[in-house]
């Protein structure tokens, strides 16, 4: 009995040691980017920035290119929270993020007008496209406008997958249905995935349905999808990305300097060039078109 007690005790000790070892494995807060001492980045007093952005910038891989560059240059550490534009803007409205990168100009306008965000700058655009199965049951291929195509989809009761998550793409889709004067919600052919663009494309491909997507995410995932581009090139289908700082006067906890640094970085000439080049090597075409300094009205001309 004494022996087994000893054994049990040793068992407890090993358990504790194991956890302690694991705990100490990579001590304290992980500091992943320790660059070479030769090129010391500046050390800001408040180094963490929360960037709330849309899933497309993350799922397409663009942020994986831009963020390390920004961190190297400025010494800030970006915490990227990739959610739908709706949630990203809501985080801005509550002061839970420092800087936003989103793509729903009409919703963003409210935040600009009531001064929730400042330093509102055009970053880049690409476009929304309507994709669907190669068999194209609603016969929309080659149609000139998305609204026309939406009407055909509704009339033929072909499966349409909506994001349903209040994201930028979702907002665009809803406005197109509105223009088409159709109320798809509740119809049996209209389904909501409730997920990001990447996952929604997977669902759409699997169900042989139609969906509205940004071009970047579609191209990045094309290899897995049984979906073709059916309607594209309409000017109202532009997908426009803006960067903005959450107003530090309204939310004192916001990282003002960090947010400004990121805002400036996104429109700097070097960054703009990186955005324009992104994806060319992998997909044979650009996924985003840099637009810093342009006016929104002039895009797509």
């Amino acid at each position: 009995m004494k022996q087994s007690l000893k054994r049990f005790r040793s068992l407890l000790v090993t358990t504790a040691t194991m956890f302690a070892l694991v705990g100490c494995g990579n001590s304290a807060a992980p500091a992943p980017q320790q660059s070479t001492p030769a090129a010391q980045p500046p050390t800001p007093s408040n180094p963490n920035i929360i960037l709330a952005t849309t899933t497309s910038t993350q799922d397409s891989g663009l942020l994986d290119v831009l963020i390390p560059e920004f961190e190297k240059k400025t010494g800030y550490h970006v915490k990227t929270v990739a959610v739908g534009t709706g949630q990203a803007l809501a985080m801005g409205e509550k002061g839970e993020a420092d800087v936003l990168l989103t793509h729903a100009p009409s919703s963003e306008k409210k935040l600009v007008d009531n001064q929730t965000v400042i330093n509102y700058q055009l970053v880049a655009h690409n476009d929304f496209i309507l994709v669907g199965p190669p068999s194209d049951p609603a016969k929309i291929k080659g149609m000139k406008t998305a609204v026309e195509a939406f009407k055909a989809i509704a009339n033929s009761k072909s499966t349409f997958i909506s994001r349903g998550d209040n994201s930028g793409t979702d907002k665009m889709e809803k406005s197109l249905w509105k223009t088409a004067n159709i109320q798809p919600k509740g119809a049996s052919w209209y389904q909501e995935s409730g997920q990001g663009m990447g996952q929604t494309l997977n669902v759409t491909s699997d169900k042989g349905g139609y969906t509205l997507t940004d071009r970047a995410t579609y191209l990045a995932q094309k290899k897995n999808l049984n979906l073709d581009i059916l309607v594209e090139g309409e000017k109202s289908l532009l997908n426009i990305y803006h960067v903005m700082q959450v107003n530090p006067d309204k939310f004192p906890k916001v990282n003002k300097e960090g947010a400004k640094a990121f805002d400036d970085f996104m429109v700097a000439p070097d960054t703009q060039k990186m955005i324009g080049d992104f994806g060319k090597d992998k997909f044979g075409q650009a996924l985003f078109f840099p637009d810093a300094g342009k006016k929104m009205e002039d895009l797509g001309k």
């Binding site: 956890f19 494995g25 980017q33 994986d64 839970e96 997977n202 990045a220 906890k253």
Partner: protein
């Protein structure tokens, strides 16, 4: 089929080359699950023992709360902890949202009721006559508790395995309070979700395999410890007999 094959190859490649990002994610997963399991044992076992042994008003109600919390959906914990940790929330001044600590807090809330519930169940299952006997033999209170825990050690390890399993598999709360931030709070489950969103199914398969292996190794180790002293049966590892 092709895809599964690609995924297996990718997993093998990552394991052999020791891809630094995946290694960092794996270590973080192990670290968070380890810390949470340890903390939930430290808090859960004494509380579970107390609940099992002492009568007090509201005890039944407390049991019902604990039993419900054992099945607490992680997203429920996730939403509430997010709201509390927001900058505008009551604990916002701590600045914990989107840090590994936030994930640890969420996982702790999820795992501890399991440890409490299973501990008290184990102790309540012991023969009441044994309790009398230990006391009759003149054991001090500490000796008494120690003996009880020792008697129930197999069930307790079972509780620990259940707690660890729950934590290492959890994704919803980790995503919400951690934010799935690269290099910071990305763990194996959230990384797998992201790779699926990106359409990198081979990487997703590889990550899922790594997670399964990790979970298996740790559970295997716990099982080994649990069954070591038992002897006999199909779990005879030959240490004793």
């Amino acid at each position: 089929m092709d895809l599964i094959w690609q995924g297996l190859l990718k997993a093998f490649h990552i394991l052999v080359t020791g891809d630094p990002e995946v290694m960092q994610i794996t270590l973080l997963t192990l670290k968070i699950s380890g810390i949470v399991t340890l903390l939930s044992i430290l808090i859960g076992v004494p509380l579970g023992t107390f609940l099992a042994l002492f009568q007090f008003p509201g005890r039944r109600f407390l049991f019902s709360v604990i039993n419900t919390s054992m099945g607490l959906p992680p997203v429920v914990a996730g939403v509430w902890i997010t709201i509390f940790l927001w900058r505008s929330g009551p604990l916002g001044y701590l600045g914990l949202l989107y840090t590994p600590t936030a994930i640890i807090i969420a996982q702790f809330v999820i795992a501890t009721p399991i440890i409490i519930g299973l501990t008290s169940a184990a102790i309540q299952q012991t023969d009441p006559k044994m309790h009398l006997q230990i006391r009759a033999l003149g054991a001090t209170r500490f000796q008494y508790l120690w003996f009880l825990l020792k008697e129930t050690r197999y069930s307790l390890l079972g509780a620990v395995i259940a707690g660890f399993g729950r934590v290492v598999a959890e994704v919803g709360a980790s995503m919400m309070v951690g934010g799935n931030i690269k290099g910071d709070t990305r763990v194996l489950t959230t990384a797998t979700m992201l790779e699926v969103s990106k359409g990198n199914f081979d990487v997703a398969i590889a990550l899922s395999i790594i997670l399964a292996i990790l979970s298996y190794i740790v559970t295997l180790w716990f099982t080994f410890v649990q069954q070591r002293n038992r002897g006999g049966g199909s779990y005879d590892y030959g240490t004793k007999y």
